[in-house]
C-alpha cells in the first residue's frame, strides 16, 4: 500500500471489521491473498420512476438485472456501455448509495451490502468515489480546506485536533498536483481540470483501497482529459489503488486499460482484457459498439444494430439484445444467455445449455479469461 499505511484510528476500534482484518493495519481483506477485493454477484436493482400523488402510476425501471464482476487489489476494471445501461447504478450500489434488491456485494471477502451504517463505515472509507462533474460534486459553499478536512475528520478521529487535518489536506493536494494555496479558495475559483483534481484529492484523503471513477473525464475538455487520466494512472501505480472505472467513451477506456466489462441494459454481455476486447470483440453488441465509435480518418460504417435499445421499464425476454441483433434465433428470444468463455472460433460446442436458466451470473473463468454472454458465440455461429 506504499504511502497509504494509516493510523488505525480511522477504523472504529473493536468493531467486527477490524477483527476480521489481517495485520495490514487498515487495509480491509489485505490478508486474503487470492480473493478478489471487490466481488459483485448477481446484483439486481430496480427503481420506481414517475408516478403521481402517493406513487400511483409509477413504472419500474430495471437498472441492474443480475450483474456479477470481480476486481482484484490494484487492478483496473472498466465498465463501458451506452447511457442507461446501468453503469452508474452499479457504481451507486458499490459505493453504498443504494442497496441492491438482490445479490451480494463483498469487499475484502466480507459482505457489505446489507451492513448497518455503523458497521459499513470502514468500508465507506476504503471505497471512495470520483464523480463525473466536478461542478456538482464539490460543495460550492465550502472552501477546499473545508471540503477536504470534513472527510479527514469524519474518517480519522486522530485528525480532529488542531491543524492536523489541514496538513493532511495539503498533502493530498500535492499528490494531485495542486499547491497548498488552493486550501483557502472556493471551487468556482478553479478550472474544470483543477476541480476534478480536487475531487480526486477528496477521495485520496480517506486513504482508500478502491476508487470508483464514474465518468471522471466526461465533463472535461479533451485537452484536460489526458491529464486527469494520467493522474489516475499514476495514483494506481504509486498508491496501489484498485479502480472501478466507468465510462461510455471507448477511447478513454482503451487509454485506461485493465479489464473491461461491456454492459447492456443492466447485464454484462462481455468481459475481457482491454487489449483482447478491442482487438477481437465477440458479443454482437460489443462489435456494434466498437464499430460505431468514431475515429479520425475512418468513414462511419453502416449501423450494425438498427433501432433503439428497449426501454428499461419494459425489457424483452431472453437476451436483451435480440431485438437488434442480426444473429438472433428462437433460443435468443426465450433463454437468457449466461457468461461463459467463448469456444475458440470458428467451431465449438459451447456449454451454453447448463447456464441458460441462470440470470447470466456465473463467471466461469478468473484472471485473464474472457467471458461472453451470447448463444450465437457459444454455439459457434459467430
Amino acid at each position: 500500500m506504499g504511502g497509504l499505511t494509516v493510523s488505525p484510528a480511522g477504523m472504529g476500534e473493536g468493531d467486527s471489521v477490524s477483527s476480521s482484518q489481517a495485520a495490514g493495519g487498515n487495509s480491509i481483506g489485505g490478508g486474503q491473498a487470492a480473493g478478489p477485493l471487490l466481488e459483485v454477484s448477481g446484483v439486481v436493482k430496480s427503481f420506481r420512476s414517475g408516478g403521481e400523488f402517493a406513487g400511483r402510476g409509477a413504472a419500474t425501471v430495471r437498472a441492474l438485472n443480475g450483474v456479477s464482476l470481480r476486481v482484484f487489489a490494484g487492478e483496473v476494471f472498466c465498465v463501458v456501455g451506452e447511457s442507461g445501461c446501468g453503469k452508474s447504478t452499479l457504481a451507486q450500489v458499490v459505493a453504498g448509495l443504494c442497496r441492491p434488491d438482490a445479490g451480494e456485494v463483498r469487499f475484502g471477502g466480507e459482505r457489505i451490502d446489507h451492513l448497518s451504517e455503523k458497521r459499513r463505515r470502514p468500508f465507506r472509507r476504503a471505497i471512495q468515489m470520483v464523480f463525473q462533474n466536478p461542478d456538482a460534486s464539490l460543495n460550492p459553499r465550502m472552501t477546499v480546506e473545508q471540503t477536504l478536512t470534513e472527510v479527514a475528520r469524519f474518517h480519522f478521529p486522530a485528525l480532529r485536533a488542531g491543524a492536523k487535518a489541514r496538513e493532511r489536506a495539503a498533502e493530498v493536494l500535492a499528490l494531485t498536483g495542486l499547491s497548498a494555496d488552493a486550501l483557502g479558495r472556493f471551487p468556482h475559483q478553479f478550472s474544470g481540470g483543477q476541480r476534478q483534481r480536487l475531487s480526486i484529492a477528496r477521495a485520496l484523503i480517506a486513504r482508500p483501497q478502491f476508487v470508483i471513477a464514474d465518468e471522471p473525464v466526461a465533463a472535461l475538455d479533451v485537452s484536460v482529459q489526458a491529464q486527469i487520466l494520467n493522474l489516475l494512472g499514476d495514483l494506481r501505480r504509486e498508491q496501489g489503488l484498485a479502480f472501478l472505472f466507468i465510462s461510455h467513451d471507448l477511447s478513454v477506456v482503451r487509454e485506461f486499460g485493465g479489464r473491461v466489462a461491456v454492459m447492456y441494459l443492466g447485464r454484462v454481455c462481455e468481459e475481457a482484457s482491454c487489449a483482447e476486447l478491442f482487438a477481437a470483440p465477440r458479443h454482437p453488441y460489443t462489435r456494434a459498439l466498437l464499430a460505431a465509435a468514431p475515429a479520425v480518418g475512418k468513414a462511419l460504417p453502416p449501423l450494425r444494430s438498427p433501432g433503439e435499445p428497449p426501454s428499461p421499464t419494459d425489457l424483452p425476454g431472453g437476451c436483451y439484445f435480440h431485438p437488434r441483433c442480426r444473429y438472433a434465433e428462437e433460443r435468443c428470444r426465450g433463454v437468457v444467455p449466461g457468461l461463459f468463455p467463448p469456444p475458440t472460433p470458428p467451431i465449438g460446442d459451447g456449454g451454453g445449455e447448463e447456464g441458460s436458466s441462470g440470470m447470466g451470473g456465473t463467471i466461469s473463468s478468473m484472471g485473464s479469461g474472457r467471458t461472453v454472454a451470447c448463444h450465437a458465440v457459444a454455439e459457434g455461429r459467430i
Partner: protein, 279 residues
Amino acid sequence: MKKSLAAVLRIRESGVGVAGASICLFWAFVAVFADVISPFDPLQQLSPLASPGEAVEGGTMLLGADFLGRDILSRIIHGTRTVFIWAPIATASAYFVGVIFGLVGGYYGGWLDDVISFVANIILAFPVLILLILIISLLGPSGASIVVAVTFASSPAVYRIVRGEVLTIRSRDFIAAAKTRGESVVYILFTEILPNAKSPLIVDACLRMGYTTIFIGILGFLGLGFPPPTPDWGGMINENRSMAISFPHMTVFPCLAISSLVLGLNLLADGIREVAQKV
C-alpha cells in the same frame, strides 16, 4: 467574522439596497433610542385633537395629538419598538417551522412530502385574514398569539421555497459524496444543503419581515393586536379611524410609518438580490 461583515457591507454596491438599508437603519435607530428622542410620554393625555405643530406645555406636538390628546409622534416612536421586537420574532418563528419542514419534505420526498405539501396548500388556500382572526380570537390578543398567527400563515410559503431549493440541491453530487461517506441526515441537511439555499432565503426573509409588519398592522387595525394603551401603529390607525375624515393626521402618520418601513425592507430585499446575482 471579518468575512461575514464584508458580505454585509457589499450591499453598498446596490443603490436600491443602500436606500432600503438606510430606511431600515433609521427605524432601528428610532426603536433603540425611543426613550431619548420621543418628545412626550406616549401615554400622557395632553391636548385632545391637537393639530400638527400645536404648542402645548412642555413642547410642540409636531404631528399633533390623537382623540385622547396623546402625542402622535411619541406614539409612533414607541410603536417602532413593538414592531421591531415582534416582527423579527414572528418571522424567525415562521422560518424555523418552514425551514425544518422544507428540508425534511424536500430531502425525503415521497409520501411525507406529499402530506406536508398538502397541508401547506390547504393553509395557503385559506384566506389569510380569516385565519389570523381565527387564531387570535382563540388565543386572545398578545405578542405570543401574533407570533403563532404569523407562523401559521407564513411558514407554508417558507416551506415551499425551502423545499424547492432542496429538491435541486439534493440531486447534486456533493450530496451523493456526503452520503457515500456515511454522513447523518441532519449533517447533510444543515451543513451541506442549507448553506446552499441561503441567498434566496435571505432575500425572502427580508420581504417576509415586511409582510409580518403589515400583518401586525392589520391585526392592530382589527383590534386583535396589542391591548391598549400599548403604542402600536396598527392600533393607532384603529383607535383614530372614526375621525379620519376630520382629523386625517391621526391616521395618516401611522400609515406612513408602516409603509416606509415595509418599503425599506422591500428595497433592502431587492438590493440583496441584486448583489447576490453579481457575485
